[in-house]
């Protein structure tokens, strides 16, 4: 069975190559069917592998087995989290392709299937990153998924904002990737190994007296790359710019799973490489991740609240939620890992569905601006219901999967950090509910414009002309995604299954029972009530919750200037080093 793991990367890449080679001779329908078949086939393969991932599998690609403990081969791992992420990637790609069935009605002439081919490469690269067992291949797939994501973000090259957002995305992410590569080179210099487990053992063998400056430098550099991808503050500036301008099916993947792969990478790299006695002490990682995660959740939630561009609003809610994921992973308990895994699965469904609904607005009205659309979408009842349900899922209303994941994580982090979880999910969900109330129900007065913001009007629809009727695929896909997010929390035993496979890979098989608790349900209901209250207040008494003076500088930081974002990246790396420094000094 383990011989099949590399196919998760090979099948989408071959499918993409086929589409590029034959695309210009194919009618559009044939190209799309090929895309869906290849993507769906990979998803099926991922599910089959996932069901057989106990005990965890390892595969040396091409039969380059280690000789006498030394290896130069490419290592891929097939444990629960790796294959789980690959499955999530594949299923989400499949739904994005299904959603884009009627999208891009007129592909550029002579390039039928170009979009589908890019989506398949994206899927293959993300699967590759998920299953990579050595750091250099993780870097290669990291760069591959980044490059495809830049191309997909700037897919509509005639749009001024799209190319600008794609360039910002490209510069910041590639710089992060190069920082990561510098860190990998330092680790190789110390241990002479590239496979993650062997680097970890090498560090433990050489670092009897604990970590030194080189280990700290490599830790900071590798984590910088991964946290740029995970959009942790202050590495997050590229994300709203990219997500606001990317085509909607691409946003579903970017927000739903690519950003989360950054958090997954942090978990994988810390657990396998730096967790030993020669690595970074647990207390330092907890300090770094919990600090940055809390900051990310706070900044993401506040900025989310003040957006009027609906896709940008959803992008900031992704920032806030990745902050929560980092906090959950940072406490380094099996319960925290399990909760975050469930949270990521539930969040992927909910966030992709919300982006899909925003896409409906874009193609129906040519605008994703909350102010311009005020009351105009009253007749889109199905979309309105799904948007509201998605908001409730974001808030963590039981029995959504997000609620189960959030409850388990809250229990793991405990104490005052619970407040961060409740507040961040309530504020982001409140913002989405406010959009629902204004756009779909036309409640409240039309809000006034602020001076420093990105409006969402005058956007080009992604179909040929504005749609008069919403195609069935564009309503079915978000409905299915929301149902899946609900099923994560409802299907009995699913949580335990996820917990068992995550712990087998990460926490030495610690047994954790994941189930609904009264405490968790009450906190979930509390954030939902808070979200509804915030939305109600925003609609009826806009002045009470409008941007206060102290929020203005926060908005000015998001300056749209790529040089500023690079400076922030360097500062973030310095902060990361400072947060991890005490353990190195103390050893």
């Amino acid at each position: 069975m383990h011989h099949l793991i590399p196919l998760l990367v090979a099948v989408p890449l071959l499918g993409a190559a086929l589409l590029v080679a034959t695309g210009r001779f194919l009618p559009r329908i044939a190209a799309e069917i090929t895309g869906v078949v290849v993507s769906g086939g990979t998803a099926a393969l991922a599910v089959v592998l996932l069901l057989n991932s106990e005990p965890p599998m390892v595969e040396w690609v091409g039969g380059w087995l280690p000789v006498g403990g030394e290896s130069v081969g490419i290592l891929v791992v097939g444990d629960g989290p790796a294959l789980g992420m690959a499955t999530l990637v594949s299923l989400l790609t499949l739904s994005a392709l299904a959603y884009s069935w009627r999208y891009f009605d007129e592909p550029p002439t002579g390039h039928t299937g170009a979009f589908t081919a890019l989506m398949l490469v994206f899927q293959g690269a993300m699967c590759g990153f998920a299953i990579a067992g050595d750091l250099f291949n993780a870097f290669v797939f990291f760069e591959l998924m980044s490059v495809v994501a830049y191309a997909l973000t700037g897919y509509r090259i005639d749009e001024a904002k799209a190319v600008q957002g794609a360039l910002t995305f490209g510069v910041v992410n590639s710089l992060g990737a190069y920082a990561m590569l510098m860190g990998i080179a330092l680790l190789y210099a110390r241990t002479g190994e590239l496979a993650m487990t062997k680097i970890g053992r090498g560090l433990d063998a050489t670092g009897h007296s604990g970590p030194d400056a080189l280990v700290l430098a490599s830790f900071v550099l590798v984590l910088t790359g991964l946290l740029v991808k995970a959009a942790a503050v202050p590495f997050h500036f590229w994300l709203p710019d990219a997500h606001a301008v990317a085509p909607t099916p691409v946003c579903m993947l970017l927000s739903g799973v690519m950003v989360e792969l950054g958090a997954y990478g942090v978990w994988r790299v810390y657990g396998t490489v730096f967790a030993g006695p020669g690595g970074i002490p647990a207390a330092d990682l907890t300090r770094a991740l919990v600090t940055l995660g809390t900051l990310t959740a706070a900044v993401g939630a506040v900025m989310c609240w003040y957006q009027r561009h609906i896709k940008r609003l959803l992008a900031y809610s992704t920032v806030a939620h990745t902050g929560l994921f980092l906090v959950g992973l940072g406490v380094l308990t099996p319960e925290g890992d399990d909760g975050v895994a469930l949270y990521i699965i539930g969040h992927a469904g909910v966030k992709a569905a919300l982006f899909a609904c925003a896409g409906v607005l874009l193609d129906r009205f040519g605008s994703v601006d909350e102010h311009a659309l005020h009351g105009r979408a009253r007749r889109l009842r199905a979309t309105a219901v799904m948007f509201a349900v998605g908001a409730l899922g974001l808030a963590g209303l039981p029995p959504f999967g997000t609620a189960l994941g959030k409850a388990v994580t809250e229990e793991a982090v405990g104490g005052p950090l619970t407040v961060v979880f409740v507040a961040a999910s309530a504020i982001t969900a409140g913002a989405v509910l406010r959009v629902t109330a204004r756009v779909f129900l036309g409640l409240g007065p039309r809000p006034e414009d602020a001076e420093y913001e990105t409006s969402g009007s005058d956007e080009e629809p992604e179909t040929s002309g504005l749609l008069s009727r919403i195609p069935d695929t564009m309503t079915t896909v978000p409905a299915v995604l929301l149902a899946a997010a609900l099923a994560v929390g409802v299907v009995p035993g699913f949580g335990d299954l996820v917990a068992a496979s995550v712990n087998e890979a990460g926490s030495g098989g610690a047994h954790v029972s994941v189930h609904w608790t009264l405490h968790g349900v009450l906190l979930g209901v509390a954030s939902t009530v808070l979200a509804v209250a915030l939305a109600g207040l925003a609609v009826t008494r806009p002045a009470w919750v409008s941007a206060p003076g102290w929020a203005a500088p926060l908005r000015r930081l998001q300056s749209g200037h790529v040089g500023d974002y690079v400076a922030w990246l360097l500062m973030g790396a310095t902060v990361l080093g400072a947060l991890a420094l005490p353990g190195v000094l103390g050893s």
């Binding site: 290669v140 490059v147 360039l167 510069v171 190069y178 190789y188 606001a244 749209g560 790529v562």
Partner: protein, 119 residues
Amino acid sequence: MSTVMHVLPYLVAAYVFLTGCYGLATSRNLVHAVGCLAVCQCATYVLLLAVGYRDGATAPVFSDIAPGSRPVVDPVVQALTLTDIVVGATVTALLLALVLQIAKRHGTVDPDELRELRG
């Protein structure tokens, strides 16, 4: 060889990387910015090759020397550098294409004038 010569390549790598970052942060032209990104990547080449260096070693090509007859530099990092160069070429080409489109659509390549996406 002296300690200075051993440490020098690492200092050069750090210097090149930070120079590229400085150029990116202060760039007034996006073509220049993409060039600066390529400079940052050159730092990774220097670092990788420095890691694999051995005193008195030759290139890891065994067409004219017998394996084991004399020391060779680490071939793994050279393979990594080659892969890295391919990755860099892809990124630079794509970003330059995007800059071209920005110049067409915005009529400028000065990041100071591209402030549409903000707040």
